[in-house]
């Protein structure tokens, strides 16, 4: 008999988006408030894990057709790229800068290159966590 997990799935559909939103918030809040790439990444991964738990691996692979190892590599490249970018502009490796710009909707917003670095961290953490968990999960031991 198949277990009826309709409640779990329904709740997950809502909750995972709340978690994802919170994760993104915490990621962007990182520069001024507690949070940042690491915890944001972990929390995003948490939302994804919840989805994977509620639905099965096969379904999720169809919905999110992403290889998380590539996400890891992308994150590492991004973090490295910000450092190399600084070199290309004639500064020491990993020099960061920031400025305030008046953006279209957001008004005066701070744009910092450190954020780019943090995106690298964010992606790496998601990739790493998901790679580990999915690898172990797929392993039908």
């Amino acid at each position: 008999m198949k277990i009826n997990d309709v409640i779990v799935q329904t709740i997950t559909k809502i909750v995972s988006f709340i978690i994802l939103t919170f994760a993104v918030y915490i990621f962007f809040a990182g520069h001024h408030n507690p949070g940042g790439g690491f915890i944001g990444g972990l929390m995003t991964a948490g939302a994804l894990v919840l989805l994977y738990l509620a639905f099965d691996l096969e379904t999720m692979r169809k919905i999110i057709p992403v290889d998380y190892k590539i996400i890891t590599a992308l994150g590492l490249l991004m973090a490295l790229g910000t450092g190399i970018g600084a070199i290309l502009l004639g500064y020491p490796f990993l020099s960061h800068t920031f400025d305030y710009k008046d953006l279209f909707i957001l008004g005066e917003t701070e744009l910092a290159t450190a954020l780019l670095f943090d995106i690298g961290v964010y992606l790496t953490v998601i990739g790493v966590t998901m790679t580990i968990l999915l690898t172990i999960g797929e392993d039908d031991y």
């Binding site: 890891t72 960061h96 961290v121 790679t131 172990i136």
Partner: protein
């Protein structure tokens, strides 16, 4: 770089071409090409006799490692010239002999001549270097070349055994010698032998002086096969006979003699030097000649005879060092010993070289070296027989050969020694002449055994593998030359005395030369009247003849000596026991259990850290600056301690995992209490993930061997864990009490918004101030993910294969 440097390096350079000559000119025996080298070197070196005779010393400089005082300086004086002439001269004869001895078709001639040339160059380097380190380098090269040559027939087990034995013994001596050289450098601040000799009178009181002397002597004694290090030489006889003739009679074994002679100006005058060298020499002389008589293999006889003769030269050098005490006078007693040593060195090289070649011929033509199988070869091999008689009679010290002269001088030396009144000599007055005389009797016996057991008596063709006949001419020429030298030196000893012996003696005893006499007056007479020495020789001949005739009656005396006490037994057993012991020690501490290694690591950790806390008296505590303890901290600490105890005492693993989770979450709460929100967030999530992973592991434990016991109690583990905890606590307290500098966090607080535009200081530090660390940390994470991925996937792949 001068031509003299090239003299030393020429054999090495030529050795490079030997394999090509061997490969592309196969129809000519490779030895013919090699033969040119020692001949050229010899004829070049001969022209130095004239200037050296006139007291000139040639010194050529070539910096090698100038910053540490090592330069390849070639220095030619009487001693160096004597040795280099021996090396090149006998080298040429040996190469000529080996051309006829080694078959062109069957043997790997390319490696043979490469090793031989390498040895020749190394030996020239030893005797011509002025720099101790360069001397050491060449010294080890001779050991290496000798090792390769002994194991030339490497498919034979005995060759490999002999090579290993000689390597182990000579190289350990070489290391000791290096230590001695370094000590000399520490004393004198120079590696140059000439400069050390110049400083010699001032350094005798130095604390390192005696250790340096003993260490250098260890090197010399192992190389020159002195008792009890002589055991490698008989086993080295597994080498091809030309090698035995060259290395193990004429040159390499004399490297130790050379070293002692070279160091005499530095160390002579010390009682230790005198006693050690003289005693070791005389004991070696006696033991070598005593052991030679019982051998049945011709080369073994010659090996022990070499040991014995080297002992004699060594003893003479020791006695001669007493001359430094008395000063040189015309016909002085004591320098006679040094002259005798030099003279016998030459004589020994001539007759021992020819004897080895004779034995090689016998071996080559009959197929055996066992004297029990040989006999009656006199009529079949008349020339070889004549050569054997000349060599052996000279070795036995019979007139009119050169051995007689040096033996007489040796007796003079030991008789003088008994009249010495220095170094508490009088109590041991008769030790030297008595031992010397007994040893000469045995020398006489084995020399006679060598000749008469091989060439006279019953001819036993049925025991021989091949039909014996006289050797080819080319094989006879080298021993004929050496034997004629034996005769020429025997009849006209003064041919050599001015040109070779006097300069060599002068370089051994330089301090005795006054300004007016720039060389020693050496005059060697055949006949010096009816004196004690002559009667001693007559006694030797008489008693020796009687004992040789009655050899079978008393040869049982050798069986009395227990095999268990033989030195070879000690060596073999020592090696076996050493291996066994090291295996045992390894097995004791290398158990293969990680828990044991952790015990070592932690025990070392405790000892080192607590030890240094104790020795430097570094433990302090200071609660003045500590903050007040709040109620939350107390409660959280208690919960954490409870969780930790739960981990240790849990009966089931699942309890332990949950307890670990408790500890982790309490830690997160601590972060909250201590106002670290980022850490608290991260800690919460990471703890959750790791507990989940633990549960995963737990779930997959094999069902068969499920153990749900408590942790077994072990006292060592308790002590070590308490020790580690105590160590860390004490260090933390001490570190907290001694704040030497203001923390740099003030800067971060100020700069994080102004410079980096962020208000979250932790994050700014992570991504901006110290972004490099973060970059590498996420790299670590990436590697971990890939690691997990590959571990899991690869395991699957392997399972599919199986």
């Amino acid at each position: 770089m001068s031509i003299l440097h090239l003299v030393v390096l020429a054999p090495f350079i030529f050795a490079i071409f030997v394999p090509f000559l061997h490969k592309y000119l196969r129809h000519i025996h490779t030895g013919w090409f090699v033969f040119i080298v020692p001949v050229l070197l010899f004829s070049y070196l001969v022209q130095f006799i004239q200037p050296v005779m006139n007291g000139q010393h040639i010194h050529k400089v070539l910096p090698w490692m100038p910053s540490i005082g090592v330069s390849f300086n070639v220095y030619v004086d009487g001693l160096g010239l004597l040795f280099s002439l021996l090396i090149t001269g006998i080298g040429a004869l040996v190469v000529l002999y080996s051309i006829y001895y080694l078959s062109k078709e069957k043997e790997a001639l390319n490696s043979f001549y490469v090793y031989l040339l390498m040895f020749m160059g190394a030996m020239l380097g030893v005797v011509l270097s002025d720099n101790l380190i360069v001397l050491y380098v060449f010294w080890e090269l001779t050991s290496l070349a000798s090792f390769l040559l002994i194991a030339y027939w490497y498919h034979r087990e005995k060759s490999r055994y002999g090579a290993q034995k000689s390597m182990l013994i000579t190289v350990s001596g070489g290391f000791a010698m290096l230590a001695g050289f370094v000590s000399l450098y520490l004393i004198t601040d120079t590696f140059s032998i000439r400069e050390i000799i110049a400083q010699a009178p001032d350094i005798t009181g130095h604390a390192l002086f005696l250790p340096a002397m003993l260490l250098i002597l260890a090197g010399a004694f192992t190389k020159s096969a002195q008792f009890p290090f002589h055991i490698w030489l008989p086993d080295a006889m597994e080498a091809p006979t030309p090698v035995s003739a060259y290395l193990h009679s004429a040159t390499m074994v004399k490297a130790g003699i050379y070293l002692v002679a070279r160091m005499t100006p530095i160390f002579s005058g010390q009682a230790e030097w005198f006693w050690i060298i003289s005693l070791f020499g005389i004991v070696t002389l006696f033991w070598g000649s005593f052991s030679a008589v019982k051998q049945t293999d011709l080369k073994s006889i010659l090996a022990f005879s070499t040991v014995s003769q080297l002992g004699m030269i060594m003893c003479l050098l020791g006695l001669g060092s007493a001359a430094v005490h008395f000063g040189y006078e015309e016909g002085s007693f004591y320098s006679v010993a040094v002259v005798a040593a030099v003279f016998h060195l030459i004589n020994h090289a001539t007759f021992k070289g020819s004897l080895f070649m004779v034995v090689g011929i016998v071996d080559h033509e009959t197929g055996t070296r066992d004297i029990r199988k040989l006999g009656g070869l006199m009529t079949l091999m008349p020339i070889t027989f004549t050569l054997a008689v000349i060599g052996a009679f000279s070795m036995a010290g019979l007139p009119p050969f050169n051995g007689f002269l040096s033996k007489e001088m040796f007796f003079t030396g030991v008789l003088n020694a008994s009249t010495l009144d220095i170094f508490n000599m009088e109590t041991w007055t008769y030790l030297f002449p008595v031992l010397a005389w007994i040893a000469s009797v045995f020398t006489f016996i084995y020399s006679m055994v060598l000749v008469f057991r091989t060439f006279t008596g019953q001819f036993q063709p049925e025991k021989l593998e091949t039909k014996p006949h006289e050797a080819p001419l080319g094989m006879l020429i080298p021993p004929v030359i050496l034997a004629s030298l034996v005769l020429i030196i025997g009849f006209f000893p003064n041919l050599l005395s001015k040109s070779i012996i006097e300069p060599a003696t002068a370089s051994i005893l330089p301090t005795l030369l006054g300004p007016e006499n720039s060389y020693f007056k050496v005059d060697i007479y055949f006949w010096h009247g009816f004196n004690a020495e002559l009667f001693m020789t007559m006694g030797v001949i008489g008693v020796g003849t009687l004992m040789f005739i009655g050899l079978h009656r008393w040869s049982g005396v050798y069986d009395l000596f227990p095999k268990r006490l033989a030195l070879n037994h000690f060596y073999d057993q020592g090696l076996v026991q050493l291996e066994r012991l090291s295996e045992k020690v390894t097995r004791i501490h290398m158990t293969g259990f990680i828990r044991d290694y952790l015990v070592y690591i932690f025990a070392f950790f405790i000892l080192l850290l607590l030890g240094s806390l104790y020795t430097f008296n570094a433990f302090t505590y200071d609660f003045e600056h500590t903050a007040d303890i709040g109620i939350f901290e107390v409660i959280l600490s208690l919960v954490m301690v409870a969780g930790a105890l739960g981990v240790v005492f849990a009966r089931k693993r699942i309890t332990a995992i949950i307890s670990i989770g408790v500890v982790g979450y309490v830690l997160a709460l601590f972060f909250v209490v201590f106002r670290a929100p980022d850490l608290a967030l991260t800690q919460l999530v990471v703890e959750t993930v790791s507990v989940a992973l633990f549960l995963l592991c737990f779930y997959h434990l094999p069902v068969l061997k499920v153990e749900k016991n408590t942790v077994p109690f072990k006292l060592t583990n308790l002590i070590i864990s308490v020790g580690v905890g105590l160590t860390v606590t004490l260090i933390a307290l001490s570190a907290n009490a001694t704040r030497l500098f203001e923390p740099i966090s003030e800067y971060f607080i100020e700069a994080s918004y102004k410079e980096a535009g962020g208000k979250n200081m932790v994050n700014v530090i992570l991504v901006d101030f110290r972004g490099f660390d973060t970059l590498l940390e996420i790299l670590v994470l990436g590697i971990a993910a890939l690691g997990v991925y590959t571990l899991v996937k690869l395991r699957l792949a392997r399972r599919d294969e199986a």
